[in-house]
Symmetry: C2
Subunit: 639 residues, 2 copies
C-alpha cells in the first residue's frame, strides 16, 4: 500500500467549542442529560423503565467478595437476552445482557464533559461509580455482571448473542475518556486487566471467537493508542480477520453447521475483507466498519481499506436516509436492501447514526474527501440531534421520516415507531450515546497531517494546534457565514470543507479547490471570511426508492426540514408543493405556498382530478419535531 497522506483528528484537549447553535445542546447535555442519566442508572427516575445498572454492579461486587472469601455463590441461567425482574430470583442479574454498557457510556460522556467543563462534584460521582465497577471485577480481570452474578462457569461461551466483549469495549472507551479528563488511571488499569485477559483468551491457537456485537475492536485499538501496548492492536486485528471465516465460529459455539446466512446479522457471514455491502444490525455494522477503517489506517492495510470503501459507498449511495439515518429495517434493527428506505417504517436508530459519524471521520483520516464529513454532518444535524428532546430528558431510539400517531398506536407493524420521545429505555443504548457524542463533538471538527489543517465541521471553537491557534466564529446554520482568526505558529495549508449542499460560496483569500476542500496557504496571521450561500433546496430522492417517488424534501444548509401536524393540520400527505412554490426562511422555519388536496371519503370512485385548496405550509427543522406532543410528521412532501 502506498503510504497515504493520513490525517488525524484533533482531540478535546486541543479544541474548545463556543458556538451559538451547539452551546445550547452541549449545555443541555451537561446540565440536564448527564445528571438525569446518573439517576436513571440507579433507577431513580420516576415512571421511567428500570435500568438495573448500578444494582447489577452491586450484586456482582458481592459475588466477588464471596469468591474472595472462598464462598460458592449460587448460579442462575444465562440463557436469555433480557432477564425480567418478575421471573428471576432477586439476587440474580436483571435487565439486558448489555446493561453494564450504559454505566460505561455515561462515564465516557462524563469524561468528555469534564475536559470541556471541569466539575468536581460530577467527577466525584463518576469516581464512586468507578470504585463500584472495580469492586465487581474478577481477579483475572474479567468484568461482565451478567456472568459474574449468574454463572462464572459459562464466561465466553456465547459470544454470538451475549455482550461480554461489547461491554468490555464500552468499559475501555469510558476509561480512556475519564483518564484523558482526570489522569485518574483506576478504570483504565482495570480495563487493561480485562483487555489482557481477552488477549490471552482469544488467539488463533486457543479460542478463535470474536464479538457477536462488535466494539471490542475499536476499544482495543484505542487502548493500544493510549498505552502503546501492541498486543491490544494484534487482538483487534485477530477479531477483525477472524470474523466470518469458515468454519464459522458461531456454528462451532452453537454446535450446528449452517450456511452462515443468519450471521449476516452480525456481519459474520463472510470474511470482512470480502464484504461489499452494509448488512445486518446497523449499529454492530458501523462499529465494525469504524474499527476496520482505524485498523486499515494504523496498519496501512489497503485491502481492509478497500472493503471499508465498498461498504461506505453502499451506505452513502444506497442505504442512507436524507436525515443521515441508517438501518431501515426494524426487524433486526438492520440495513435493508439497496434503495429500500421506507419513511413510516424506518428504524434509523440514533446509535447507528452516532456510529456512522465515527466511521465517516475514520474514513476521512485515510482518504481526503469532503464527502465523508458531508454524511457525518447530515447525521449530526438531523438524526442524532433529533434523538434528544429540547430539554434533554426524553429520547428517540427510532427516527422515522413520517409518523401518524394513529398508525403508531393501531398498527403493530409500526410498534417500534414512537410519535413522542420516551423518558428512558430499559434498553437504553441511545441516550448515553447522544450524551457521549455531543460531549465529544470537539473531536469531529478538525483533522490534520504534517502540512495541512482541515476544517470539516463549521462549529464555532478555539483551536490550539501545533500549526496555529484558530478561532472559528460560526453562523453556519443560520447565514452560512464563518470567520476564522488565525495566529500562525508555522506556515501550513488550510483546507476548508465545501459542504455538498452549497453551490456558491466566497472565501476571502486565494484558494484552490480539490476533493471538496478549498486549500489556502497560510504563512502569517490572518482573518478569513467564508460565506456559504445557504439556500432553501428541494431535494428529490432516487426514484428507485419507492416511497419517495413524486416527492421532495426541503432542506436548508445541513438541516433537513419537516412538516408537523401542529403547524399544518392532520393528513400531511394531502399537502403538496407546486414546482415553483415560493419558499421563505423566517425565524428558523420555512414557509411555502402549497396546496391541500380535499379529503375524499369515498373509498373507490371513477378517477377525476383531485381538488385542491391553496394553503401555507410550514416546515420546521427535523431535529425539532415532536417537541409539541404527539402529532403527525413528514419529511417528504408531494410535488
Amino acid at each position: 500500500m502506498d503510504k497515504r497522506n493520513y490525517t488525524n483528528h484533533l482531540t478535546c484537549n486541543e479544541i474548545k467549542i463556543d458556538d451559538p447553535f451547539w452551546n445550547k445542546v452541549i449545555g443541555t447535555v451537561r446540565e440536564n442529560m448527564i445528571p438525569y442519566q446518573y439517576l436513571a442508572l440507579q433507577d431513580k427516575i420516576e415512571s421511567a423503565e428500570k435500568s438495573y445498572c448500578i444494582e447489577n454492579f452491586k450484586k456482582a461486587a458481592e459475588i466477588v467478595r464471596q469468591l474472595k472469601n472462598g464462598q460458592v455463590p449460587q448460579t442462575y441461567p444465562v440463557d436469555k437476552w433480557h432477564y425480567d425482574e418478575s421471573n428471576t430470583d432477586d439476587k440474580a442479574f436483571h435487565g439486558w445482557v448489555f446493561q453494564d454498557s450504559d454505566v460505561y457510556k455515561w462515564i465516557e460522556a462524563v469524561g468528555y464533559s469534564l475536559i470541556n467543563h471541569p466539575d468536581n462534584e460530577l467527577e466525584d460521582k463518576a469516581k464512586q461509580y468507578i470504585d463500584l465497577i472495580c469492586s465487581a471485577q474478577l481477579e483475572n480481570g474479567y468484568l461482565d455482571t451478567l456472568y459474574i452474578i449468574n454463572d462464572r462457569s459459562k464466561i465466553f461461551t456465547n459470544l454470538k448473542d451475549h455482550h461480554e466483549l461489547y461491554c468490555f469495549g464500552h468499559m475501555a472507551l469510558g476509561a480512556i475518556s475519564f483518564y484523558n479528563a482526570t489522569s485518574d488511571r483506576k478504570l483504565l488499569d482495570a480495563s487493561c486487566r480485562f483487555a489482557d485477559l481477552i488477549c490471552e483468551t482469544f488467539d488463533k491457537n486457543k479460542n478463535e471467537g470474536y464479538p457477536g456485537h462488535e466494539l471490542a475492536e475499536k476499544a482495543l485499538i484505542k487502548l493500544y493508542e493510549v498505552t502503546g501496548c501492541g498486543r491490544y492492536l494484534d487482538t483487534a486485528m485477530f477479531f477483525i480477520d477472524q470474523r466470518g471465516q469458515k468454519p464459522f465460529y458461531f456454528d462451532r459455539e452453537r454446535g450446528v453447521e449452517t450456511s452462515g446466512e443468519d450471521y449476516r446479522y452480525n456481519q459474520a457471514h463472510m470474511p470482512v475483507r470480502e464484504q461489499k455491502e452494509a448488512t445486518g444490525h446497523a449499529v454492530r455494522g458501523v462499529y465494525l466498519y469504524s474499527a476496520m477503517a482505524q485498523a486499515a489506517k494504523i496498519r496501512s492495510d489497503e485491502s481492509l481499506y478497500k472493503a471499508c470503501k465498498n461498504i461506505w459507498e453502499n451506505i452513502a449511495e444506497k442505504k442512507l436516509y436524507i436525515t443521515g439515518g441508517i438501518g431501515a429495517n426494524a426487524d433486526g434493527e438492520s440495513f435493508s436492501f439497496d434503495y429500500d428506505l421506507p419513511n413510516d417504517l424506518a428504524y434509523a436508530e440514533t446509535c447507528a447514526s452516532v456510529g456512522l459519524i465515527a466511521f465517516a471521520r475514520d474514513m476521512s483520516e485515510i482518504e481526503i474527501n469532503s464527502k465523508y464529513h458531508d454524511v457525518a454532518e447530515l447525521a449530526l444535524y438531523n438524526t442524532v440531534l433529533s434523538g434528544m428532546a429540547s430539554d434533554g430528558k426524553s429520547f428517540f431510539y427510532v427516527n422515522p421520516l413520517e409518523t401518524d400517531p394513529v398508525a403508531c398506536e393501531c398498527d403493530s407493524r409500526k410498534r417500534h415507531v414512537k410519535p413522542v420521545r420516551q423518558k428512558w429505555f430499559s434498553c437504553a443504548c441511545c441516550p448515553p450515546n447522544i450524551a457521549k457524542i455531543f460531549s465529544s463533538l470537539n473531536e469531529y471538527i478538525c483533522t490534520q497531517n504534517d502540512s495541512t489543517f482541515f476544517i470539516n465541521q463549521y462549529i464555532g471553537c478555539d483551536i490550539n494546534s501545533q500549526m496555529a491557534d484558530i478561532k472559528i466564529i460560526s453562523d453556519y446554520t443560520n447565514s452560512g457565514k464563518i470567520s476564522l482568526n488565525i495566529n500562525v505558529k508555522k506556515p501550513f495549508t488550510l483546507a476548508l470543507r465545501i459542504p455538498s449542499w452549497c453551490n456558491n460560496f466566497s472565501i476571502s483569500g486565494n484558494y484552490k479547490e480539490s476533493g471538496g476542500y478549498a486549500y489556502i496557504q497560510i504563512d502569517s496571521d490572518c482573518k478569513i471570511d467564508i460565506a456559504f450561500d445557504i439556500k432553501i433546496r428541494l431535494i428529490k430522492c432516487s426514484n428507485l426508492v419507492r416511497d419517495n417517488i413524486g416527492k421532495v424534501a426541503v432542506t436548508r444548509g445541513p438541516i433537513v426540514y419537516c412538516m408537523e401536524e401542529a403547524d399544518n393540520g392532520k393528513n400531511l400527505h394531502l399537502l403538496r408543493l407546486s414546482d415553483n412554490s415560493a419558499l421563505k426562511y423566517q425565524d428558523g422555519f420555512i414557509l411555502a405556498d402549497g396546496k391541500r388536496e380535499r379529503p375524499e371519503q369515498e373509498l373507490y370512485s371513477d378517477y377525476t382530478e383531485s381538488k385542491y385548496d391553496n394553503c401555507k405550509i410550514k416546515f420546521i427543522p427535523y431535529y425539532q419535531w415532536a417537541n409539541r406532543g404527539s402529532n403527525e410528521m413528514s419529511v417528504y412532501i408531494r410535488i
Copy 2:
C-alpha cells in the same frame, strides 16, 4: 322489528352452473384440486409441507379403541398452537390445533362437488375418511384429535386459543354438505352428537364460554336448519350474545383480569351488539358477522342486524381492498384501522374474502340492496380467484396488491408476502376454502322470496325454482351481455342486479329500478336480453389511503387488472398513465399508452422534473398474476 321481506338463496340442488368463465375454474377444482388435496391430507404430496391430518385421526381412533378397552392412554401437553414433529413423541398430535378442519373442509367441498357432478369413486374416498373420523369420536360425542390424543382431561379448557369449537363447525358444515349430496347421515349424526354435547356444556348456568375462533355459531344455525332442532339455534345465540360480556370469559379461563383489549383479536372485547367496527383477526371476524346476520334474520332480531350493518359499512367503506380483500395487517391477520390499506404489506387472506362473500349474501337476505353482491363479486373475481393457480395445484394465502420479489426475499417485514403461489401449507386453511367456495358457487347466484326472484351474480346456469325454470346464458366478464330464457311456473317479479361498475345498460322489457336492481314483472315465458356496457375504468382510491394517493387502478367489469414484470419489465413503480391514456381491451388484456420514468441512480439530488420515455403498458387480470414465475406485480399505477 318490522317483518322484513327476507330472501333465501337457492341451493345447489336448484341450480346448475354452465358458464364459459366458471366451468374451467370449477373443473379445475373438481379434477385437480380435490384429488390433490385428498393426497395432501395424507401427506402424499412430495415437497409440500406435511398436514398430519389423516395421521392425527388414526391416532385418535387408536386412543378411542384403547379407552373402550379400559386402557389408560398416555397424555401429552396441549399448550401450543402448533405441535412440531421433531419435538414431540411420535404418538402425540402433530400440526396445528385446527388441523382436523382441513379434512372437514375437503369433505364439504366434495359434498358440493358431488351434487353438481356425481362421482362414485370420490364419494367412496370421502366415506372412508368419514369412517375414520367417526371412529375417532369419543362416546360422549366429543371430537377434536388434539385433545383426544394428547389429554382428554383438558377438553374445553382453552377456548380462547384452541379450536375445538371451530373444528366442530367445519365438521358439521362438511357433514351437511355431504348429507345433501348423498343422503348419507353418518357424519351428520356424528356432528349432531358433538353438537348435543356442546349444547349441554355451554349454557348460562354452566360453562359461559364461547369460541375463540368463531364458526360453531354458523354451523349450529345450519344444523338447526337441517334438523329443525331448536337447541342448536339457542346455543348459537348463546355464543353470539355471551361474546364479549363482562367479566370476560377468556379472563376467567386464563385466571387474569384484563381490559379485554387483547380480545379484540377474537372480536370478544365488547358485546357484539355494541360493536361498530370490523376488528381483530379478519377470518374470525367475518365468520362471526355472517353468523350474526343469519341469526338476525332467523330471529328477526333488529338490534343484531344493526350491529351487522354498522360492521358491514365499516368494512365496505373503510377497510376493503379494491380486489375485495380484507384484513390489511399481517400481524394478527387482522383488520387494520380505517383507510389503512397498504399494497405491499397487505395480508388480505383468501379465507377472509371467502368469508366476506358469505357475510355479503347473508346481509342481502335481510336487506335487499345490490351493494352486498357488488362486494361479493369483487372478492370472488379477484382475491378468491387469485388464491388458486391456473392449474389448481398451488395457492395464495396472502393476496398483496403490489409485490417485489426482492423485497419479499430481503425484507422480513414482508415475509408473509409470497411472489409465487405455494404448494400446500401446513397451515392449510385457504386451499380447501377455495375448493369449497368454487364447488358451492351455485348458492351465491340467486335469492328469492315469495314474490321476487333475484339474480345477483351473472353466472351461466340452469335454475329450477318454484317460480320458473330459468336458463342464464352469460358473457358477463367478456361483453357484459346476458340472456335469460324463462319458463314461468307462476307469475313473479324478476330482479336483476345492476352492477355498481356499470353506468349504462339495456334490458329488453319494462323495468323499474330500485336499490340497485331492475325489477321486471314476468307473467309468461320469455327471453330477456341484458347488455351491461362494460368499459375500462380508471378507479381512484380515497386519498385518505396514503399508499394510493396519485394513483389509479384499472378495472373492467368486475375484474381488477394489474401489471406484471413479465409484461412490463422491472420497477413497475416507474410506470405512469397519463390522464387521457388510450386504453384498449384485447384478448383478455388491457393495453395502455403510458410513460416510464427514467431510473435515477443518484440517491439525493436537487429537484428537477423527471424524464419519461413513452411506452406501452400491459395489464392482466389480477386473478391471473403469478402464473409465470416470480416477478413484480402492481395493481395501482401513478397517473
